[in-house]
Symmetry: C7
Subunit: 287 residues, 7 copies
């Protein structure tokens, strides 16, 4: 630092430092571009997981999906760019310090001790970010989907790399750390299914009840309103699902559009009850 370096040495040092800094900026820019390209490719379908989306996406909503992909790419890219900048600039500074023969060991010691101390505690944070990154990459859910995140169930209001924000049915807002989610159940992909179990008396006419329920199923499928915006297949009637000394249980199911199973279930209950009433067959307590 204070050695009697001749002018030549000083000039060489100055040139070296300028070169190092220029190089650092160039590499940083290259890294940012590379990240942008990678993230875009990952988000728009060139990734391993691109086949996930094909089946789950109804047609005609390409624009909406395109927008969602772009947002995901930005969220992911933003953090990766920060990390790249920190690494490259940090390396540049350390190289300059070394070129100037300034001792960097004390600095590394201080930062190292602190770094290890914090590193252990920050594991959870890194886990959250990695989990969030992959959730976005795999497009497991988006704003507006109804998901079961284990700790909470509700409608997604926001997704960041660290937390997912849900609002449950009581209006409570839940912040769930992404790293604590081991499995996600998404109720808004592709289709849902409405169920109804119909317990009748042990000595009921098995064939008659089945015919009655199949009739309800056809009636539902014939209803233009339901068919258009709620169900996607004719409801299906299963035979004796359960058998006890007091009841026979029949089951009727209907494949519906993602968010329509609750409404279809209510409709199903109403129609089945009406049909049973008019046939004089009461429901009984199952098992």
């Amino acid at each position: 630092m204070f050695d009697n370096a001749p002018w030549a040495g000083l000039v060489a040092s100055a040139i070296a430092i300028v070169l190092i800094l220029v190089l650092a900026i160039v590499i940083r820019n290259l890294a940012h571009r590379l990240i942008t390209r990678m993230v875009n490719r990952a988000a728009t379908g060139g990734s391993l997981t691109s086949r996930f989306r094909k089946s789950a996406v109804p047609e005609g909503i390409d624009a909406l999906l395109h927008e969602r992909r772009k947002q995901r790419a930005e969220t992911m890219g933003s953090v990766l760019k920060h990390i790249a900048s920190i690494v490259i600039i940090g390396t540049g500074i350390l190289t300059v310090l070394e070129r100037l023969t300034i001792p960097i060991a004390p600095l590394l010691t201080s930062v190292g001790i602190l770094g290890v101390a914090i590193g252990f505690g920050a594991q959870e944070l890194v886990k959250d970010f990695i989990a969030g990154m992959f959730m976005l990459l795999e497009d497991q859910y988006g704003v507006g989907d109804v998901i079961d995140a284990g700790a909470a169930v509700g409608t997604v209001e926001a997704v960041t790399l660290r937390v997912t924000r849900l609002r449950d049915v009581d209006g409570r807002v839940w912040y769930v750390r992404n790293g604590t989610i081991t499995r996600i159940g998404n109720e808004s992909q592709g289709w849902s299914r409405a169920f109804m179990d119909v317990p009748v008396a042990y000595d009921a006419d098995i064939v008659g009840v089945r015919v009655l329920l199949e009739h309800v199923a056809e009636e539902i499928w014939a209803d233009p309103e339901l068919r258009e915006s709620k169900i996607v297949e004719q409801p299906h009637v299963y035979g004796v699902e359960q058998l006890s000394d007091s009841s026979l249980v029949f089951r009727i199911t209907a494949k519906t559009l993602p968010s329509a199973q609750a409404e279809v279930s209510r409709d199903l209950r109403l129609r089945v009850k009406t049909a049973l009433d008019s046939a004089g067959i009461p429901m009984v307590a199952s098992a």
Copy 2:
């Protein structure tokens, strides 16, 4: 330390030491300013999570929010400044010691052994601080919010980086370490929802009951007092939510302001019971 250094060397050392110390102070001040600016930007909306607040905040309370933001910025900045000071001053001292050719290995050894021993045990502490930092940054809750922190449910009385202090409904004060909170449920953001399930007899008049309940819903929405300060939408009546051999269950829900769901629920119960009574329809035990 006791080598026969000529005067020139001593003077050079003295100058170097003074320079190092001056540099350390300058860098420390710069770091503090940088932290202040970063924290302010994060707290006032330039952060990743700023969009979180938009939807959850009713209008006209900007001043209050501004104050809350300022406090959050101070809490976060305070710890970061302490950490920066310790790192910079520690580096400065080590550099001076090295410049004086005093052996620092023994010191590093002692501190290192102790540091590792404490480091492992302090993981939890660091986790608490990191979790607290992000909770503040994302503004997940503030003083006065009613939250479900898993370990305890109650009104937030204080938020620090390490613990959150709640008071539950029995008046018990709870100290919950931030790092042990994996999900937060906040009941005071945006809106809440009041529920009531109405079980009537299996052979009740489905349509009649539904009309009756819808009438109650309209009556509530028409009540100026409720509409002004408690509910935000006309209550909604769902059809047959549940069906058993003994009862039909209807459901009625009302979207309310954040803290009003308990009161609206009581009102709902009173009105529904009165309406059923006057129509001569008793509630029954649901399945």
Copy 3:
């Protein structure tokens, strides 16, 4: 970097660098080929686990299995090739930098600190990938199988190295991280079994009931439709499985094809009930 090296040294350096890079590319290509061969052998039956598949695979579907094996080999190979490329190219770059006498310590320091910080948090990710790799290698399940993954039960829709995507019976899509799966139950390998417990009154004629049930078993086995596409063995009637003050419980079981146990169970219930009815023996509540 800026030393006055004579031309000879510069030329030697340039040749060395070119050689290093050529070598790196050659080694990378060799590694990729090696991986392709290893993965293919593992996937097509040369592995430790090849005996697993033999018993579980019905005949005549070789082509389908061949396709599935090829896909698995590609999925596995893709990640291994990425890892090999990163290691080999990274080594090449570091060797070139060293040859150029550019100091790489600062770079390693920056990357190392970051690497350790991320390394701890990425454990879960690596666990997921390793678990996924072995699940594929051992062919534990494939698209279309019905599995119990602990966190969720349903039909497999997609398998990647990190997550398995299921759809449960309600139409909910589940993303389960492979590393969190400690045991897999696959309902679609080889055969399943349909059960029915038949409780009759405590004072029923034990021998008579048994004969009646055996008759039902023979009838089922004689049914050409069932025999052809659903069951694989004549149903078996066990004696008194349970005995209480109010009932005797008989059990009847039938070995079926993988996905047919639900349908066979319904058929079994229908036939047993009909047989009991015609013999005037009512089922009772089992203890």
Copy 4:
């Protein structure tokens, strides 16, 4: 150690050693003073958590609180001083050994291996101490408070940095390690709340019962004895908290002084029962 050092070297070594030891003692004393000052400031309100105490502390007990603060400061300072002494004296000894050119590597090796072995096992111990330190610093509870520490509920009998000693209601003494406490519920800060749920028959006169209960609330608030030493607000009567086919549940609550909720609850039960009896309204089993 046995080199032929001239007298000059020996004298220089002797002086250096004396200087090192003097320096170590001086630094140790400075560190102790610094710790004393820091701990006192933290304990008497200059800390981050000082605002916690303000609201929770009734007036007029400053002396008692002052004493408690002093004790906390001593407990915390004691351990910190021990740690500082060990580090400084250890460094001093190692420096002396190095100055004497005695090889310290073997010593460090032995101590290091043992240190790592013990270090892992001692994590829990360090966690307990850190947790205890912060509990004291934040004044979460003190001797005499009734707390819920998860593992045990009772009156605090002693607080040390490692364990908290409670005595539960059966007279059992509990030793709970501070590090295992993830949340503390303190029933002795500020106020408590007494509850009573009053279920009456489904067809009871809603308005009449409410008026009756409000009358009891006023009566309680008017009672000088209760008002002086037990309750802090007029009891509050809520409307229909719960509604079933057999009962209507009213709720009455009273905010009390920290330790008075049990007594106020008993009083409440007595008065409500008497009032209901005199009005001829029996309590019923709530749903």
Copy 5:
């Protein structure tokens, strides 16, 4: 690498490299032979755990056991040989590189960073292999045994070092990672025991019932079919196992061959019921 080494040096290097490679191959072969011998000794009874098998193995099935031992030895040896080869070949390559004065630091750096990252995540894998190795070594179970592995209960279909494959009673195939099994219950070693609890009325004749049950026990032991292939001891009748206001419970147990307890239990139930019926003593609901 490009230094002006005279021919002598080059030749010496070449000889050294050849020697290193030959040595590596020789050592590898020696290691493989050593492993084969060790594993065979361990598997055929020279190990610590050999006494485990003695009691659990019925006579006359030596050939079968010999085959099973051989297979276990192969499974275990295969992995150990892979590990030995990798270590020895890796060491050889590194030694050659060093001999050639090629810098291996960059390579070690790249591999090391990756190695640590993967190492943490691969813990579970290593645990699985170690657990599998010891399970095989101790012969805890083999193909065909019925085991309770905690996560699943069923018949073992395959055992590899990483997973155990079971098939449960419903025909579901379970893959259980060996490392997640903390305890194994094997129902197919040595003998099993059939149980039956016989509750009779509180005022029944204790001595009479006991005599009746002992008679059943003798009858069972006298049955040649049962004695030959199912039970190994005369059934034992215990006195009053349980006593309540409504019933006296007697217990009868029979030691059976490993897989025969279910059948013996059914036989026991039939015979006890018949005996009680003929004596006019009804079973009652036990407390």
Copy 6:
């Protein structure tokens, strides 16, 4: 080792080695004395936790406590002395080896690899010892105390640094590892409390029952036998602890000597029942 050192060097080495060994023995003895003194001081009341014992110890049993303290001091000292000896002797041997210029790197490598492998696995062991050390130091329990250790409840039969041996009420002996105990409940320190809840009919005379129970309380306190050796305060009668449609629950409690609560409870039950019987007030089922 085989260098041509002149006699002078050999003699110097020999002297150095003797000196090192003498020094090691001297330091070891000093360390043992220091440990003895420290442990004695800690065990006899000079420690942080000494105030714990004051309140919990009845008077007049100083000798017994003195003996217990001495034993604790010996148990603790024994392990610490072993550790000190191992460290000091190990350091001595390594120093001698180094002085002899014998290469110790291979030894350290072998021991180090083994040490790390064992170190991780031995964490639990170290935890047990540290926990045992502090339990002894804090005198949480001793032989003869009745404790609740979570995993088992019973009378302490032996305390070592690694395990605590209990015998439960069925005579089963439990070995509980000290490190797995997160909280200890000691029933034998200071006092215990006997409880009795007295449910009477909803329409009972509240005041009359209370007077009756207070009379029983006085009677118990007046009984010289109980007062002398079992209870330490007059029993206390609380008012209406619980109120339902069918019962009013009163509570009576008595503070007793540590092991007397079971006997006092039986006495309490007998006396209360007799008193209620003579007053014609039956107990009812509490809600």
Copy 7:
């Protein structure tokens, strides 16, 4: 390795290598002897835990215990000797390689990377061995004892350092890893206790029933058969253990020899029932 060393150097090297190997063998033999002596002393009562056995061991079975001790010593010594051999031989080989100036860094690198990878995964294994070592040392249980190991309850069939083999009451064989056992309950040490709770009607004659039960207790104690081989103290009758509106519960307990409590309980039930019957006092359902 290929340097032009004169014959002198070669001879010196050869001598050194022979010396190192001889030394290694000598040290290994010394270590084995030391281990044998230590383990014998630990197993035969010179250890910390020797006092554990004194109270738990009935007299006259010294020979059996001596045998058991010897076996334990062998089991423990065997593993320790293996570890010592590996360390000493490994050190010897490394020292010879270094003496020959063969570079050992590549070998250490390969082994080190593998070692760390395996080390993490082998933690569980080491835990099992350490736990097994201490269980043997403390003689917590032996072959033939009935123990509760948490994961399984049964009779110990074999104890090795890694697993404990039990057989439960159904004849199932359990392999429990020693490291997963946090507490052991041993039912075969010293004594057991038989219990019987006797609920009689609320209005029964308390004194009369107690006299009756005490009479049964005396009768049992007077029975020579029981006294000789089953019980060790006169059974004890406690007063009113429980009191409800429908029953008074008395308790009678008897201290028995380790394995006799089940038989004594049956005898107790028979005698108490007979006595109650002859006195016309029926047992009732306890609360």
